[in-house]
Assembly symmetry: C2
Homo-oligomer: 669 residues x 2
């Protein structure tokens, strides 16, 4: 933290009037003072290496130079991690400690070309390889003798995995698989690090043996010569071009022209192909759900991090920025004093806590279910899967909306890349598509909810997180109560009513002769809405319950603020979803008017703590990397300092004056 | 248009099944076959010059190279315009015909450094200069002897113009003004072309003479030497850095250290400073509203163009892309067959028409009011101002939402810059901030509505577009009717009720002792919502009325589709705003369920015409510039062709392999 005497006076005044202990909240967020201390130590250790420092800010570079800088940084980072692993007493057993959370993204701000090596290549080897295969590959991969990635999505095929076209055909004569891309749409497209970085790759391909297709299986394929890095014969590899964001990730394409690999390069922990070409089936594939769900839970955590950054930037800027003169002869107020600005920012701050606690709750559930799975009990797997799908969709969409709202709340300056908000938006918005496109995700949850409703309606028992469906099916509607608990019950009633209405509509359409799939499709706009309603009810109740469990340990001042934020979040969403509440609960116009004043008074109560609340996220300047959001609030100085780094500003007259502008003005062009 | 035989078969099938004549709709959009022909001729003439063709796609360039390319293109474009102006029979009297609409943006896809010369510098000289000043400056500017821009916004001051800090102090001794930037926050910040392009600038500054401040006035200031382009002494000028978009516009900063300009460089059409320093006041400043309103009407047209491009890309892509297998043993359907996809796209198509017709309606009103103004009648000025504010805010926000939804509807490929959707988003989203930040705009309209309500309540007459307030104030509530007309009346009732509720809340707060400004601020979240509701009612009714006036001339097949699109737009918004309708009208649950099926059946009816509807926008491939959206639907081929243009793909191994990757893998980094 910067010494107090250089801090912008408005920001300092905000900190002085904060009603709670900011450090106490930081400890609570980190999960205890010891975690905070460890985090800070880790940050010190990594940042003192200076890898994050850029001579010319990377946004000024060409696409190619951006890649070259990303490779340099990623290599230096991994070198450092390897060194820290070797130093016994650092306590950094693996890369996750360094790269997890916000620290990694502070160094490689627009994605890393080596991420998939650790996040997909090594985990897939571990999860899908036999013991022998693991012994052979994992050591090499951990030691960075080879660099791998994971290729599944194709140019013409994404979410629908069965539609992939790449083939791996077994040739018993040579005991090899032949990898082939039969069409242009079969080209792998998107994998990070694939373009010019990785020399190995796990390729998901349709397995053919003895003339039969057995579906998608994983194969380890060498792409480039280990010494020269030249693509091997038959391997067509390159990069896919510039994207909205993540331009450091080196996303690539990959096509095969009859490329041969040894039989034992198929990862055979589950299914096998014997030497003679006999296919031996996998025992169970349900277990692979685990990884997908793990990734989605991690994604909710990522969304928290981005939202925390965005609200930190926008809130601090709103305390520094002054505008207009609503009262004559008074100075221009801080824009944070405008209630419309509080409306834009404060729900974002409470969303960070809502998502963090919901992710934690989901994480605990994930661990319980995983333990049950290992004991052979799969009962809660569909429930968990349905939860992870809708939470993925709703939290990524909300996070994108939140980051963009924060950006717009900073006016023109939010449009500057130096605010860091546009880059954040690029990263968050990508998450709406990857790891399961959001509309598809919501429809998967809807499928579960429809089944659960049919069970509840038939009087069968249903899992805990859809228990409210049973209550609704039994027509036990609680009377309306204008409290947080009452609103949560209201949201559950909304979700149950929407699911029930969808089921009715589908059944009606089937009865009029429509095929189930067509009835489903025609009802899908409503199904998505039901699925979102379910997720809203889950988010509200888990945020409320987890906070209730947390506050007894907090000081009274902090407790009050934590409870105000839950209230704000719940009331905000009630006001957003009034149409649903009016349709499906007994809320009255008077209740609504009360909710509106409650909301406005919560904004007023939380206003003095706005800066304290974002300070408590404790995101240091090097990680935040924003001209508008730094701790000291030197917004205008930093904007100018950053502008002066532009290569265009290194010379008073650009060459284009002589070449084009002057000839144009002189009529000689 | 490409010859039919190379068109993707799915797209061709879509065109074959279109139920209306696509060309007829194109003519209707252009305002007659002759306009269509002229537009096409203009496009041919400009595009055959080849200025839009890029050797290396500009997205791969560095920030500096992007500027240099933009200057080159802009100069060549203006050279061409000058030549066409000299050729008598081209019919191109001015640059607007070439640069207006979509054509200019096809050549300078991420903004032009010369735009403000024509859009602000010359118009301000014309509007604010005396006849002598016009004679001196406008010729030089039109002839491009000098290149100018317009500097108003400062680092610390945007929407609130009275807060600007730059000073122009008159010195009667030398008969000069002294321009000065007293603080860092006084630096001009944002003007396009200011950084390294313009050599002249109109600077808005606080005028001081005889020790008194007279507020903001315009001054023509030379910034750079006409021959060497070097900044003049005391002029601190440069560029502000990389932004989310518009990186071809060369936005700059500008500070003055006591820079002297002749007295007659103040534009004195309205106010004057005499030689002795006497200030002579302007007769009326109401007339300057005109320009602002003109710009906002143009902005609504721009939004139409961007939305038309975005829905063209996403709809054609959705016809080409196949995914999943809802029914076993059937092929993967086009994603356009998913009702959730239709839900994302079709309302976007109808919004283009809604915005276009509303802009036209506003344009007619603007012309009427301007004529009245010239006759000294200012009565309808506040109404028009209120309309232009809320339409600016709502159409820019809706357009940004529409473009982003289209981008997300294209899945991962929408994230590629080659889709053109991310660049479009950058441009559209900027419009939410410039020309009046959207929240500020909505509050300005709210101020008008509150006054109008008070008038209506008191029984005074109110202008036409708020006539519905008088109806509501007289408690003449029409019974609910589930028709388009009924829904529009419902939206008016919602707007009136919201305005009335705001007035009540503010008055209640004042009665409890709050100052008016504080009561206003505390109610501002509701005020914004009332203002939006007013705008929705306007958009729905103007779209409906303008279409009604248009369809009698259309063929029956086209008429049907045009009416379906109005229905879709109105029903879509009714379903979006159910909470409001339930609160403030007598709509029933049964009405809502009917609306939902109506909406679903409209999607089904419009589905076969989706491609025909976007084809009718007639945006040629060079202007659309999208791998996903071209007329022939060769989506995957174009994605690959574009990727292969990446400079990274020009060599099989990037130099970073030798410098970093190999040493890392060998443990030698």
């Amino acid at each position: 933290m910067a010494p107090t005497n250089t801090v912008n006076v408005d920001l300092q005044r905000e900190r002085d009037k904060c009603t709670f202990n900011i450090t106490e909240l930081t400890h609570l967020i980190d999960g205890g003072p010891q975690n905070t201390e460890e985090r800070k130590k880790r940050e010190d250790m990594v940042l003192k290496e200076g890898i994050h420092v850029e001579d010319v800010p990377s946004e000024y570079l060409s696409h190619k130079e951006k890649y070259e800088l990303a490779i340099k940084k990623a290599c230096l980072l991994f070198k450092m991690i390897r060194r820290l692993q070797e130093e016994e007493n650092t306590g950094m057993e693996n890369y996750r400690a360094v790269l997890g959370g916000m620290l990694g993204s502070a160094i490689l701000r627009d994605g890393s070309p080596l991420t998939l090596h650790y996040v997909m290549f090594i985990p897939t080897l571990m999860g899908q390889g036999t013991v022998e295969q693991q012994a052979y590959w994992i050591g090499r991969a951990f030691n960075l003798d080879i660099i791998g990635t994971y290729a599944q999505t194709e140019l013409g095929h994404g979410t629908f995995i069965r539609g992939l076209e790449t083939t791996a055909t077994y040739d018993p004569a040579t005991k090899e698989f032949v990898l082939h891309s039969p069409t242009l749409t079969a080209y792998k497209w998107w994998p990070g690090g694939l373009a010019h970085t990785a020399n190995y790759c796990i390729v998901m391909a349709q397995l053919y043996t003895k003339g039969q297709c057995h579906g998608i299986h994983p194969f380890v394929v060498q792409l480039r010569d280990e010494n020269t890095h030249m693509p091997l014969p038959g391997v067509k590899v390159g990069e896919i071009g510039v994207k909205l964001g993540m331009n450091g990730t080196n996303n690539g394409f990959l096509g095969f022209d009859h490329v041969r690999i040894p039989r034992d390069h198929m990862l055979m922990k589950n299914s096998k192909v014997l030497e003679d070409g006999t296919y031996v089936n996998a025992p169970s594939s349900k277990l692979t759900y685990g990884t997908m769900m793990f990734v989605r839970v991690m994604l909710v955590h990522d969304m928290c991090n981005y939202m925390a950054k965005a609200v930190t930037v926008a809130t601090r800027y709103s305390a520094v920025r002054h505008q207009s003169q609503p009262k004559p002869n008074e100075p221009e107020p801080q824009i944070l004093d405008y209630v419309t600005q509080q409306h834009k920012l404060l729900v974002g701050i409470s969303s960070v806590h809502a998502f963090r606690l919901s992710a934690q709750w989901l994480w605990n559930m994930y661990n319980n279910v995983t333990a049950e799975l290992e004991a052979g009990d799969m009962e809660r797997l569909p429930e968990l899967h349905a939860l992870s799908c809708c939470l993925k969709a709703v939290t990524t969409a909300d996070a994108a909306e939140c980051v963009e709202r924060c950006r717009l709340a900073c006016g023109g300056h939010g449009y500057m890349l130096s605010s860091s908000l546009p880059t954040m938006y690029g990263l968050v918005s990508a998450a709406c598509t990857y790891e399961g496109e959001n509309t598809v995700m919501l429809l998967q949850t809807a499928r579960y909810l429809v089944k659960a409703w049919q069970q509840a309606r038939a009087g069968s028992s249903v899992p805990p997180t859809v228990q409210y469906l049973a209550r609704a099916a039994a027509r036990r509607h609680p009377p309306w109560e204008n409290t947080v608990e009452g609103l949560i019950l209201g949201f559950q009633q909304v979700a149950a009513s929407k699911v029930s209405q969808c089921v009715q509509t589908i059944e009606k359409r089937q009865n009029s002769g429509m095929a189930y799939e067509d009835a489903w499709n025609l009802t899908s706009v409503q199904l998505i809405s039901a699925s979102e309603a379910h997720c809203r009810a889950i988010l509200l109740s888990s945020y409320y319950e987890e906070t209730k469990a947390l506050v007894p340990a907090a000081s009274p001042a902090l407790r009050k603020v934590l409870e105000q934020m839950v209230d704000l979040y719940v009331v905000y969403w009630a006001l957003q979803k009034l149409g649903d509440l009016l349709r499906f609960t007994s809320i009255s116009e008077r209740d609504i008017e009360q909710l509106q004043s409650w909301y406005e008074s919560l904004l007023t109560s939380l206003r003095p703590n706005a800066v304290g609340l974002v300070d408590a996220f404790d995101i240091r300047d090097e990680i935040l990397h924003s001209t508008l959001g730094s701790y000291d609030g030197r917004v205008y100085e930093r904007l100018m300092e950053e502008a002066l780094k532009s290569p265009l500003n290194q010379e008073p007259v650009n060459q284009s004056f002589q070449n084009y502008l002057k000839p144009l003005m002189q009529g000689k062009l």
